[in-house]
């Protein structure tokens, strides 16, 4: 009996290696490494709901992208980079006749882990508002796309917003700005940018680490109480954001002087913090809310027809849900660009790269796809894999996120040399010859 069980499991596994081929029409395969289990599931659940709802909308309402259906499939990773690598290996050859045009990593550490592999396999890694900042330089990193909003841009936009609040960049001189960060590669990713900004504008740069998972932060906030910074830039993630806001309240630091980054600015961060989050602002390359055109379309076609992946429809329009929508839209628009160039058939990795490198979403297109206000204008080029670098600022009013500003751009002139220097160092260390896009064909 026991042996039978083991044998059955083994047989099942072997069979799972063989994929059933569905014949007639070939769709574009899109694997989604997801985390519905584990410490980060709370952000994940909504994110996948957004992605799936949008893909479903494209498939069922718009009949696919240029007629090509999207075949998306989930793989559980628990946000573990190792398991994401496993998923990547599993899917990189494509499925059911469709090659892989790109791979969503759904997490900065996973992007780091896959950087070299994907470059070797020629598969674009898509990690909007995440990834490795230097990979903005597409001449050294042709297959990495930290779309929208790199970590340097996050720091810069945050400082720009503070400058706006205090009445100009000259007023930054002499201010103290503390960064409370999750002590990980993610948390530290913005440090070089803040350093440069501090030098340029003459504010004092205080860096305070919070060790993972960060569920007790009194020492950190006591330090803040001692050093009395004027503003706090919060670069935490998961539970450490909630605890940071709660502890800030306890130590009497005003929430309206705390600015969170992208990954510290969702409902999952604000709701559990209760009153401590009122007035807290966050960078929003993906604003929350349901007032955007796309939400009306989704509500009518997906939610009201009971096809949504959302378990709790109250969370429709939550920041994490909208992250999913925007990511899905970026993928769809890139594919569309590619299909127009290569023909309406599943793309491979190299074609996928071309597609992303020629992705342009202007205001008119934003209106058409219903993302006006939710997504910034995008123009990706072979030398700029970010393509945006702006965010809106939203504040928590105790119930929901309220948008405070229009798109605030990061200071790319200041940041680009930093990024290029980092990319050049990487190229040297790894023996990569940066490509020269001008001379490339197609």
């Amino acid at each position: 009996m026991k042996r039978l069980l083991v044998a059955a499991l083994l047989a099942g596994t072997l069979l799972s290696g063989l994929t059933p081929a569905s014949a007639d029409e070939v769709s574009q395969y899109i694997p989604l490494p997801t985390y519905r289990v584990g410490a980060y599931a709370s952000s994940g659940e909504l994110w996948w709901a957004g992605e799936r709802d949008y893909f479903r909308y494209i498939n069922e309402v718009e009949g696919g992208v240029e007629g090509v259906k999207l075949n998306y499939e989930e793989f559980e990773t628990e946000w573990s980079p190792d398991r994401t690598v496993e998923v990547y290996e599993r899917v990189k050859a494509g499925k059911d006749g469709s090659p892989l045009a790109f791979f969503f990593t759904h997490g900065t550490p996973a992007t780091y882990a896959l950087l070299e592999k994907a470059a070797a396999d020629k598969i674009p890694l898509i990690d909007p508002a995440g990834g490795k900042t230097e990979t903005v330089d597409g001449t050294v990193f042709p297959y990495a796309f930290p779309l929208l909003f790199s970590y340097y841009s996050q720091a810069s936009t945050g400082i720009n917003y503070i400058a706006e609040k205090v009445g100009g960049f000259d007023k930054l001189r002499g201010l103290k700005i503390a960064t409370v960060y999750h002590d990980s590669a993610y948390g530290r990713a913005s440090q070089p940018a803040v350093e440069v900004l501090a030098k340029k504008y003459g504010f004092e740069n205080i860096q305070i680490p919070v060790a993972d998972p960060g569920n007790e932060q009194s020492p950190q906030w006591r330090q803040i109480r001692e050093q009395k910074p004027d503003w706090v830039f919060l670069r935490t993630w998961g539970v450490s954001t909630v605890v940071a806001l709660k502890t800030a309240q306890r130590f009497g630091f005003p929430a309206d002087h705390i600015i969170g980054d992208v990954w510290a600015g969702s409902e999952s961060d604000a709701i559990p913090a209760g009153t401590a989050a009122i007035g807290y602002s966050a960078l929003a390359p993906y604003p929350g809310g349901t007032d955007f055109e796309i939400h009306k379309r989704l509500k009518a076609e997906i939610l009201d027809k009971g096809k949504s992946d959302l378990r709790d429809q109250k969370l429709f329009g939550a920041v994490n849900y909208n992250i999913g929508l925007v990511n899905a839209a970026l993928a769809v628009e890139a594919l569309r660009t590619g299909y127009k160039h290569f023909g309406a058939r599943p793309l491979n990795g190299e074609e996928g790269r071309w597609a992303f490198e020629h992705l342009t979403i202007d205001d008119k297109r934003l209106e058409e796809i219903g993302f006006k206000g939710l997504l910034q204008q995008i123009k990706i080029t072979p030398t700029d894999h970010e393509g945006g670098g702006a965010a809106r600022i939203q504040s928590w009013d105790g119930e929901k996120w309220v948008l405070q500003t229009d798109w605030i751009k990061a200071d790319h002139e200041l940041l680009n040399p930093l990024i290029q220097a980092g990319a050049a160092a990487y190229a040297k260390e790894n023996g990569i010859t940066p490509r020269t896009p001008e001379t490339e064909t197609n």
């Binding site: 499991l9 290696g17 289990v37 490795k132 023996g431």
Partner: protein, 350 residues
């Protein structure tokens, strides 16, 4: 091969023949595997399976044979990986195989240091020492940029790739043979240790450490040896995990969940057996795939994806409990051909 002709009562000739046949078949399979399996199977299943087996073996020497419970397997893997990275970066003259060995020794020395408390602390109190190692190294390797050469992502990767005395081992096949060779060699060495005096000392301590001391087993030395040897193997496994499987790694690759995973491998596979590590690693690598497949075919579309994932997690937990209750010796015994060996051993007597 003269033994085959002896009228050994224990093993009739046809059984011995069968054994030889099995070994030959296994060897043939191992060598030709890359040509039978797809690249996906080699990269994503077989190579990690081999490395996890090696890590399981390393932990099994300490926990299954030496009776010292450790929740720090990940930490020692981490030390091995970061040491290999540092050596390849800073001592480029050192060829990879030697770097791996030196890294193993560094991991072994670290394991030895964290094993010192075991001479005063017994049983599961020891998990404090091993957990301390786990958290300390997660912090250390992230905190000081020297360990990852200051790159902004805090990850480590071998910039020159894998090579084995001039042979390029970067292709899937290269990685497979590199891993297989190291795993096979370390398994053989471990096997030799286990059936010799060292193994006897470890098992004596596991079965009854006070009695072991009284009859003259050098408990202090043997425990430290167990920590050092186990960490040596774990360190090499960690380096392979980072560079032969993942390609690049960060502290998250060797977090607490990795430590648990290695522990589960040996519980499920069989504590205190060599092949248990392999069986357990196979089980742990394949079970999620099998459950995925099963659930996709049974419930796809009917049940919420989040629920599915959580059910799988619960099933995994149940299997662990079930193994501990029903088969404390794990798959190694379950699949054993010699089931008649008598009553069960009791590991870790209370």
């Amino acid at each position: 091969m003269s033994e085959i002709n002896l009228p050994a009562a224990a093993e009739p000739i046809d059984q011995v023949g069968l054994k030889v046949l099995t070994i030959v078949a296994t060897l043939a399979l191992l060598v030709t595997a890359p040509f039978l399996a797809s690249e996906y199977w080699i990269n994503a299943i077989i190579v990690p399976f081999l490395i996890l087996s090696l890590a399981g073996l390393g932990l099994n020497l300490l926990t299954g044979y030496g009776g010292q419970l450790s929740l720090g397997a990940g930490a020692f893997m981490m030390v091995g990986a970061y040491a290999t990275f540092s050596l390849q970066l800073r001592v480029p003259e050192l060829p990879l195989p030697l770097a791996l060995i030196v890294a193993g020794f560094i991991a072994g020395a670290v394991g030895l240091a964290f094993g010192i408390p075991s001479t005063r602390i017994k049983g599961f109190y020891l998990i404090v020492s091993t957990l301390a190692a786990q958290f300390f190294f997660e912090w250390l390797f992230l905190k000081f940029p020297w360990f990852y050469n200051g790159n902004s992502s805090a990850t480590i990767a071998l910039s020159r790739g894998l090579s084995f005395f001039g042979l390029d081992a970067n292709s899937p096949h290269g990685r497979y043979y590199l891993t297989l060779g190291i795993v096979a060699l370390l398994t053989l060495l471990s096997f030799n240790l286990i059936r010799g005096q060292t193994g006897r000392n470890w098992m004596a301590i596991r079965d009854m450490d006070t009695a072991a001391a009284v009859i003259g087993v050098p408990v202090f030395r043997a425990k430290l040896q167990a920590f050092a040897v186990s960490s040596f193997i774990l360190g090499i496994a960690g380096a392979l995990w980072a560079f032969a499987y993942l390609g690049s790694a960060s502290v998250q690759s060797f977090g607490l969940t990795r430590s648990y995973q290695i522990l589960f491998i040996i519980i499920i596979g069989g504590l205190g057996t060599i092949r248990g590590a392999y069986l357990g690693a196979g089980f742990v690598s394949l079970l999620p795939l099998a459950l995925d497949w099963l659930f996709q075919h049974l419930f796809s579309g009917h049940v919420d994806a989040g629920l599915l994932q959580n059910i799988q997690k619960a099933i995994f937990g149940l299997l662990i409990i079930w193994f501990l209750i029903k088969e404390p010796e794990g798959l190694a015994r379950l699949l054993s051909l010699r089931r008649t060996q008598g009553a069960r051993r009791r590991l870790f007597p209370s």
